[in-house]
Symmetry: C2
Subunit: 191 residues, 2 copies
DNA sequence: TTGAAACTATACAGACCTGTATGTATACTA
DNA sequence: TAGTATACATACAGGTCTGTATAGTTTCAA
């Protein structure tokens, strides 16, 4: 096992634990134990648990961004279809057995102090979704983009939260249906 | 200070800490210290931290339910106005300086194990919102109530999450605007 | 084959956690 | 006024946490 892949292995195991149990609830000893490494090896690759957590947050940004763009840009052509494809992707995501809610919502919820580095990181990574929707809507001049973009973003966040709390049996489908209504409204009315 | 109010005092202080810092991050010693009581007094009123946490979750259900119904039923008459009033109330809530996100989203995020009592409690208390929206929509026969109710619930959850993560500068207003569009759509089309 | 870098195993320091034990003081009730 | 329930302060038991210290072992390249 090469040097680099050992570091990645530790990060993978740690990420899985952070995601499933939470950051505070996951101890360094447990990461060490489940990684089958020595504690000093972990502290050789990561200066502290703090650094490991920040690597975890960054890792999810990379993975999610890639996955998102792949899935959405695959088939959709028109802005309307691209926007609706977002909700199809959410549905796939929610259906996975490993689905465990949104890392950033959970992290922000666990470290609500607005000046905490984890909260700020989560907040920053989250901005990606709205930026993507905005970029798709840039193809639609003479549309009230701010209103539509906000509405869609709220539906995405709502669906993720509902999936996390299991308060809606089909959050992605319901969000998609609602999204269709407001997309058609704003596109048709040019306002 | 009477017996009963001392217990309430402890619960108030503890709730504030749980809400601001998180449940795991708040130690019993800190609750004791900020309550200006003896540790044994706390353990005399609550068998364990666990019992204190469950009391905290229940307390928020009571308060939020009351506040919600008061605020919403005050002025609104028609189903349409009652539904829109929900988002006005959210706007007031988000604007308060003590606003710290939704207790139940945060608790579920901190204890994601679906069999954990805190997760289940949070999930159950959360169901209240959808039930309320459903009850308002019961006044509207021949409307696709399931679709509209789901859409509105997702907008509510999305607005709360966006307010928590500060990813939208005006989550309640944007959610209200979007809600208006879908309400008018479903009510007008009778579907 | 020799030497440096990486990894391993174990122990432990110091801080924090929940919950208990003990004895004293206060306040209400009979 | 005597007795009882409640609250007090302090100490501590036993566990967990992060991070370090130390010494032995593997790996790999020169």
């Amino acid at each position: 096992m090469a040097n680099k892949s050992k570091k990645e292995h530790i990060l993978t195991v740690a990420s899985d634990l952070f995601n499933k149990k939470g950051i505070r609830a996951t101890g360094v000893d447990q990461v060490v134990s489940e990684s089958n490494i020595a504690k000093m090896t972990l502290y050789n690759h990561f200066r502290s648990k703090d650094e490991l957590v920040l690597a975890y947050l960054m890792k999810y940004d990379d993975e999610w961004r890639k996955r998102f763009e792949d899935s959405v840009n695959k088939s959709a052509k028109t802005p309307r279809d691209k926007l609706l494809a977002v909700f199809d992707m959410l549905g796939e995501w929610f259906g996975e057995p490993e689905f465990n809610g949104c890392v950033y919502i959970k992290t922000a919820a666990e470290f609500m102090d607005h000046s905490h580095p984890y909260y700020e990181a989560a907040r920053n990574y989250k901005a990606f979704m709205k930026k993507y929707i905005d970029s798709v809507l840039n193809e639609c001049p003479s549309v009230n983009r701010e209103a539509l973009s906000s509405g869609l973003s709220l539906l995405v966040e709502g669906a993720i939260t509902a999936a996390m709390l299991q308060t809606d049996p089909k959050p992605a489908e319901h969000a998609r249906d609602t999204a269709r209504v407001i997309i058609d409204y704003y596109l048709a009315n040019n306002k």
